[in-house]
Amino acid sequence: MSTNDDSQWPLWEVFTQGARGEPFEHAGSIHAADAELALQNARDVYTRRGEAVNLWVVPSNAIVASAPSDAGPFFDPGNDKPYRHPQFYVAPRGVRIF
């Protein structure tokens, strides 16, 4: 199959909000020529069974992503630094612990 880079409309990332107040979550991506049709397409592909009360569409090329090769230095959780975790600290008597 030949390359068909020009046959597709721009790619958009779709974010859905399941209920008011909830965070928007990435649902997937769609192709669309412009923002209004991106919303339409996102609605059809990702929200038609009541999955969302709100939609964001974002041009995929507007997303700045970390590279997998950054995984080490970028995301090192620092497990050797226990004081980063709240469990490290002893709660004073009388403080209700949830």
């Binding site: 597709q8 409309w9 769609i30 192709h31 669309a32 020529a33 412009d34 209004e36 049709l37 339409q40 397409n41 609605r43 059809d44 592909v45 038609r48």
Partner: protein
């Protein structure tokens, strides 16, 4: 009640409901013909979704029509075991898909009508019909948004898309007048509390359509030689071919359940 302007029908309410149901069944089937064939995956999904919505509306309406008729026909019997001459859909919705512009212009012209009609019927005096109208209105509003955005982009797009969209509009325009015609059936159901203000409907439709055509840089065609007959079972040659396909499985396996 005004004097009948056509041959009186035995059960005007059943007849009226069949008109509403058949419009949506036939258009829904036409849209479903794009399944697997639309220009891109997203549009394939959109058109198939709209097809399902319309067939869903038709199911509710034809079930009600069967109940009102009282002869033991359910929505499946009405959809799959009536011949073309018994169908009451407007000629517009049975027109073939053509290219993408024809499909979207046909959809837009009907969506604009359907949204305005449901809006009126959602306040009508028949509780069951009003409920179906209110439910269908929500989905048709989305359809109208989809089809009008597409008409604007196709009309105000490239020279090629503009020419094709104008051609589609010129071809389909003569079928729009039928949507707003009144006959004895309309008068009879109006007497039962299902009155549609056709003049208001037409005027709102004109405004809505003109606005979109202007945004789409398309020219509204002149009103010449309107085509009619669908409401009394006189259809174009296209309906029979469509029904042959649509009804083939149900007729080959009558009563089948799965």
């Amino acid at each position: 009640m005004a004097a009948p302007r056509h041959t009186a029908v035995a059960n005007p309410l059943a007849e009226y409901l069949q008109r509403l149901g058949d419009d949506r069944l036939v258009l829904g089937h036409r849209l479903s013909e794009w399944c697997g064939h639309a220009p891109i995956l997203e549009e394939d999904i959109a058109l198939s979704n709209m097809a399902l919505d319309l067939i869903g509306h038709a199911t509710s309406i034809l079930a009600l029509a069967g109940a009102v008729e009282g002869q033991g026909r359910d929505e499946d019997a009405l959809a799959f075991f009536r011949d073309g001459t018994a169908f009451r859909n407007a000629l517009l919705v049975e027109q073939p898909n053509g290219d993408f512009a024809v499909t979207l212009v046909r959809q837009f012209l009907f969506d604009a009508y359907s949204v305005l009609l449901w809006d009126q019927l959602s306040h009508c005096g028949h509780e069951g019909l009003a409920a179906i109208a209110a439910k269908s209105l929500k989905e048709d509003k989305y359809h109208l948004r989809h089809s009008s955005e597409w008409v604007v982009r196709l009309g105000d797009g490239t020279d090629e898309s503009h020419a094709r969209t104008q051609r589609a509009l010129d071809t389909l325009w003569k079928y729009t007048a039928e949507l707003f015609e009144r006959d004895a059936v309309d008068d009879a159901v109006a007497a039962m509390g299902i009155a549609v203000d056709t003049a208001a409907l037409r005027s709102l439709w004109d405004g809505l359509v003109n606005d979109v055509l202007q945004r789409a840089t398309l020219t509204r065609p002149p009103e010449t030689g309107p085509r009619r007959g669908g409401r009394t079972g006189r259809h174009s040659e296209h309906l029979g071919h469509m029904l042959a396909t649509m009804q083939s499985v149900a007729r080959a396996h009558p009563g089948a359940r799965w």
